[in-house]
Structures are given as C-alpha cells and as structure tokens.
Symmetry: C2
Subunit: 438 residues, 2 copies
C-alpha cells in the first residue's frame, strides 16, 4: 500500500497496541469484562436512547419485523448480554493452553501453546447484543477487533462502543484494541489490510459473504453456501425419516443448515414419498421431483438447476437414487460441503456415509438443523466455516486462536546433534502443567 | 473455469477418485505402503538407471555439488527411503481420530473427528527420496497428491512414480490418487485449480514460494521469509550467548532458521560484542553494526536495509538496544514471524518475550536452528508454516488433516429444543473410544 487513509493508519496503530491485551493475564481480562458489564448498567439509559433512535428510523424505513426484533436493545436484551459476559469471563482461559509438550533433550523443553490470532475483522448483522458478545469473546481470547455492524444499528453500536471504551479506560488492558467502523468505504479499506487483519468473519447474506471472499487476500472464516442434502437409505425407518426431513426443511427454512435436496433410495421411495408428501402438505412445501418422484406423488417437475438451488424457503428438490453410491456422488457433485445426513438402520451404510461424504457436518438419523455452535455445545459461536483448513463447521472461541512453539534451553546448540555427538530424546510429556510463558 | 486443458481434467478426475483412498482402513493403507517398499526393491535397477541419467545431465550442466548430492539415488538413499516407509506405516492412523466427543442429549452423540484434507499440491526440490516420502505421507493420511519435483530429477521421478503406481495396482486403494506433473505450464494450471486442490505446499527459494502465494487462490502452506532475530538481554550468560549466536548464525547459514539480526542490550554490549567478534572471526562472519556497535568492535556500518535483510550467509546485522521493549518492537517491525530467541537469565524477561513476540517459534537460551520438524520430534516434516491459521511453525502429518463433525441420532429433530420441550445435556465424554465412523 503506497498511501494510507485515516482508517488504514488506525488499523495499523490498533495492531501495534494489541500486545497489551494479548499478553495480559486472565485476571486482567476478567476484571475488564466485569468493568464492561458494570459500565453497560451505568450507561443503559444512554444506550436505550440511542437504540430508540435506530428503532424509529427502522420503522420509518419499513424494516421487516424480524429485523426490528433483532435491532431492539432493552432491559431483557441487556440482561442476556450481562449473562453472556459472565459466562465468557468464567470460561477457561484460551490463551497459553499447552497443546503439546515434548522433551527434546534433558535440558531442552518444547511446548506448543495456544495464542491469540491477532486482529479479527468482524462484519455482522444489525444486532446490538451481538456487538457486546463479539467484544467479550475477543477480549477473553486476546484478539484485537475491528467491528462493522449492520447500518440499521448505527446509533446503538456507537453508544455501546462508547460505554465499553469508557469502562476499559480504567482497566489494565485499555481500550485501544477496539475499532468501530461504519461506512461501505471503510469495509473496502478493511478488506485491503492484509498483514494487519489476521482473520475476517463476515456474517450476512450468501451474496455478501461471497463478495468478501472474492475481494480480499485476508483469510476469511465463513460459509457462502448451505446446500444440505439428506439421503434416505432403503433401510430407513419411514416414520422417523419423515419427521427428520420435515424438521430439516421447515423448522427454519431460511437457515443455511436447512435441507434443500432429498435423495431417496428406489426401494423405499413409494412408501416414503407418500407419507412425506402428506406431512409436507401441512406447511405447503413445494416439491421439485425427478421423473420417478413425479410418477409417485404430485409435484413440480425438477429441472437441472434444482439440484444446485438453495431455496431457503418451504421448497425442496427430491430425486430417487439406485444406491448409496449414487447418493454420495450426487452430494459430492452438487452439495456445498456444509451439512449432509443419512437416514438408515444399516450400520455399514452409515459408516460408509461418514467416511465418504466430505462435508463439515455428516449426520445420521437426525435433523440437519442441529449444525450450530450453540447446539453443538461450543459455547458462543463465532461463525460456521466450510473451509477445510484451520476450523471447519460451527466455530467457537478456539477458532480465534493460533499457536506458538515455545522452547526453553540452557545454551543448547544444534551442532552437536548434527555431528552425531548428541541424540534427541523426543520424550512426550504430560500437558497438565502450566505453559512456560505463565 | 470455462475451458479445461488435459491436466485440469486429470486433476478433476483425481479428486473424484480419492474417496477410495480417504475412506480406506489403516490396514489397507499399511498393505499398500508395504507393496510400495517391495516394489522399489524390485525396480531398483530401473530407478538407479534413470537417476544416472539425471546425474549425468546435472554434471554436464555444472550443477552445484550440493544439488548433485541431493539428486543422487543409490543403495544408501533407497535404504533411507525404505526405513521411512516403515516408520510412516507403523505410525498412528491419523484418519478418524476423535478430537472431541460430546453428548448433546441421551440419544444424540457428537464427535469431532480428523479426516484427510483432500488433494495436496506439492512442489519440491530435486530430491528423488523426498518424492517417496511425500507419497508415503499422503497415502498414510489419505490425501491425493499432485507432485511437481525439481526438473533436475525428471527421469528419477518418472521411474519412481512408475514403480509406485505399478505396486499400487495390486492394492485395495489403487494408484489413481497420484499425479506427477513436470512443466512450468503444468504448475501454472495447478495454481488455478481452486476447489480441486485443498492445499499447496511449495518448497524452494523465497522468491518461488512468494510467487506461488501471490498467484493462487488455493491455501498455501509455507514460508517465504526467515528473518530470525536473537535478543541478548542484559542478564544473559555471555559465554552461553556467544555459543548460541555462533551456532544460530554459522551452523548452516543458508537455512531459513539461521539468525540474521542480533539485538544486544546496552548494559552487556561491550563485553558480549568483544567475545562474539572473536568467535565470529573464526568463520569470517561479516558484521553490519549500528553506531554503538561500531564504537565497540570493528565492523561494517549498518544501513537501513540491513535490518530487513535475510543474508542467508556468514553475515549478520547487530544493533544495541536500550531495553527489552525496544528489542521486541524491532522484532515486531522487521522480523518475519518465523523464529526469534531471547538469551537471558531473568525469568520475567523470558516470559515477557514468550508472550509479546508474535512468531511461530519463540525460544529462550537455545539456537534458532532448532526450529525444524525433525528436531521438534514431529516425525516427517511436510513444511514450515508462517501462517497463523491451520498450522504454524514446523508442520508434520497433522497439517495434512482436516476435521468433520459426525453426529448420530435416533430420529432427533430440532423443534422440541427450540420450543423448550427438551434441553441439551452437553456432556463432555472421553475421547478414548474409537470414532463412530470406524
């Protein structure tokens, strides 16, 4: 970069400042979290007032009720946020966890230890409570954060960041590791800050996530597509299968983990499709079926594009297949490696599905809708990743961590080992003891 | 990609074929490794003959003795390769290892399990033995491999791949997961195969690795720079410090983990620099010193570029600093986040260095030259990564693995949990038992 605009310089400064946070003790970070919680209570009227302004604007702009509900920040949301801060504060310190410990020689000790990634760039929806959750997670995990919230929450986000920064002034870690950005041009600058931002986490529409992935050299954690499939094996329990397919499709159809394609084994197709159709009719689910499906139930004839369509609505593509292999091939060719499930009572078919389907989440006999950080028990979810590197599937605070190899010697040199005078002992040691950096 | 050349189609086919390897049992893979070893012995005369041709060409082209030594494939190298295959075969199965196991409810079990990344693109130096090592590691870890070796080893690589493929025809996993490519235009095609190649591992010159990183959207594991520094704290043991600095600089100066910059605390500078100079003079190490260094010992005046120079030779930059903070700032601004060390007898200074220096390897009181997969006890090293995501520092077979979340239910749906009828138990379980896919 030959020229820096104002935001670039701020991000470069932020990166320099994070060492105070990233090298801080868990005690300092816990105290800072408490200060933030106390501050939010202290400043709540200021925050509610800012949020009212956002809510008014939203109503004037005919914003959808769902967005307005997410935008609201009231006593109830504040309590949720305070509970969240408490939970994050009490969770295990993710910094300086020993992942491997090995003696290389009597007086040479190696440890692989977890450390913060550095600076996270988080682009998220218009949910003020999400801002507090993200800041808490970054504080706990020792990562600097550049925040860009949905524009509908502009006033609320400003008020929250003002309160948080004020509270942190009195802490040992300061507040210069948080930066709130607002405009589209700020996002454009953010995407160019390779080397200063370690990880971008975009949340929002598929289109937006894809745009971020295609317009930055910074690693991106996220998922742009969620074309999930269910294979109904010939041994599937029909009643159970119908329930699972109904839940996977209709429980929340606009979610990325909702099912979009059903692959039904020919030997079970007739019985299964009739019962499924009856159930789907309750919610008026539109079925796009291949020729065999059309010969069994009343449906819309499927066209080629249907096998690659993420409906995100009460709509589904159904194909009859001759074998598990055909189902797996279909998922490999058309799926998005997000979440796929098999319904089967045959152990070897289930194992084959687990081994052969190359997706972040591979399920048997349960709804695809379980693919979620909270449901998985990961604590707070920072995102869902369809990348195969670093983190895959729902990602918790672990996804914000990197590692360092720490070594402690007593003047050890490599020459005697290379010359054959000394030999490495390479003894694996317990990882229970605290890291040498603590 | 709108048009596919011949190589693109081959890589797309290879990707389809890998499921036979990636879903195979450890027994099948062990048998295949044995077949490869037996085959190399069977075909050794053919391989030696091909290697002789490469050696002749290399001598005619006045190739350096070091390259010729690496290029040679004889009885001794064959034995090394056979030992390596045996070691890889006997190592723990990296596929299907349970990393987390959690009960979500009585009848809903979640496992995070290790799985192969997919297809690795490996571009490596003219070392025929490295080809066999890479193929063995990919076989063991269930990854398909596209190989591009140094051009000086063309005949040897062809002979080795011919032997390996012939041996694998008789195995349960086949040989269609290995592809040898040869030309520069093949590499250009490889770099464009996003979505079909999961990870590129380029080995070679800094310039080449940087070229790869800048010319592909495929994730790259590697390191382009190795600007390693040592900070000599005021409490350092002078004799130990001189030994460690001498080893770090001169034991193998062209390695990426050789030290390039020394930062010496002002309170120890006089004594330390005099003794270091005496030792460095044994190897005629050229010292580029700042003004204070110039006032203490005879040296070349350092210019601004010296602080950013990776000499990869018997040459070093030395600066006197006023504090540990100044040293850390210098490393943050000029280092390459590869390997940095502190020499100190002060525990709190060592801990501060561990916490504040953001590098893959952070050492105390030992040579930077220890930063290496073999020395670290990782078994075979696939590369050294300066990325902070996925894998950092020397990388063993773990770096070739991804994960899947496997879930097993009994018809479970999300609705009753969302409606508050049921609650998750989220009970952490032991990871000792085999994965549900086994």
């Amino acid at each position: 970069m030959s020229e820096f605009n104002n935001l670039s310089s701020k991000i470069i400064d932020l990166r320099k400042n994070i060492v105070r946070l990233s090298s801080s003790s868990d005690d300092y970070r816990a105290t800072a979290l408490n200060l933030i919680a106390e501050g939010l209570v202290r400043d709540k009227e200021m925050i509610y007032k800012a949020n009212s302004k956002d809510m008014e604007d939203a109503r004037e702009n005919n914003t959808t009720p769902a967005l307005v509900a997410r935008l609201k920040f009231d006593e109830h949301k504040l309590q949720g946020v305070l509970d969240g801060i408490k939970m994050v504060g009490e969770s295990e310190d993710p910094i300086g966890k020993v992942l491997e410990r090995r003696e290389l020689d009597d007086d040479l000790l190696l440890e692989k230890v977890s450390f913060p990634l550095g600076v996270i760039g988080m682009i998220f929806e218009a949910r003020p409570d999400a801002l507090v959750q993200i800041v808490s997670l970054c504080l706990k995990s020792g990562n600097g954060i550049v925040l860009k919230g949905g524009k509908e929450a502009t006033e609320s986000n400003r008020a929250l960041v003002k309160s948080i920064k004020k509270s942190l002034e009195n802490s040992k870690i300061g507040s210069d590791w948080i930066l709130l950005i607002e405009s589209h041009s700020d996002v454009a600058t953010l995407l160019k800050m390779e080397g200063y931002i370690d990880l971008l986490i975009p949340r929002g529409s598929n289109k937006f996530v894809k745009f971020v992935m295609n317009n930055t050299n910074i690693p991106v954690m996220g998922h742009s597509d969620g074309l999930c499939s269910i294979f109904v094996d010939e041994t599937a329990d029909v009643a159970m299968g119908v329930d699972v397919c109904f839940d996977s499709k209709t429980q929340y159809p606009s979610a990325c983990n909702a099912v979009e394609t059903l692959l039904v084994h020919k030997n079970i197709a007739k019985e299964f499709l009739h019962k499924l159709k009856t159930k789907f009719d309750e919610k008026k689910v539109i079925i796009h079926g291949d020729e065999t499906v059309q010969s069994i139930i009343d449906c819309v004839p499927a066209i080629t594009e249907d096998w690659d369509t993420e409906y995100l609505a009460d709509e589904i593509a159904i194909k009859v297949v001759n074998s598990e292999d055909e189902a797996i091939d279909h998922i490999t060719s058309h799926g998005s490696h997000h979440t796929d499930a098999i319904l089967s009572q045959d152990e070897s078919n289930i194992k084959k599905f687990y081994l052969s389907v190359d997706s972040a989440d591979v399920f048997a006999n349960c709804s695809t809708r379980f693919a979620d950080g909270y449901r998985f028990g990961l604590g707070a979810e920072v995102g869902i990743s369809t990348s195969k590197l670093h983190a895959r599937g729902p990602v918790g605070v672990k996804g914000l961590m990197s590692t360092k190899y720490l070594m402690r010697g007593n003047g050890n040199t490599v020459a005697p080992y290379s010359d054959g005078e000394k030999n490495y002992t390479h003894k694996e040691l317990s990882i229970e003891k605290e890291a040498m950096c603590k």
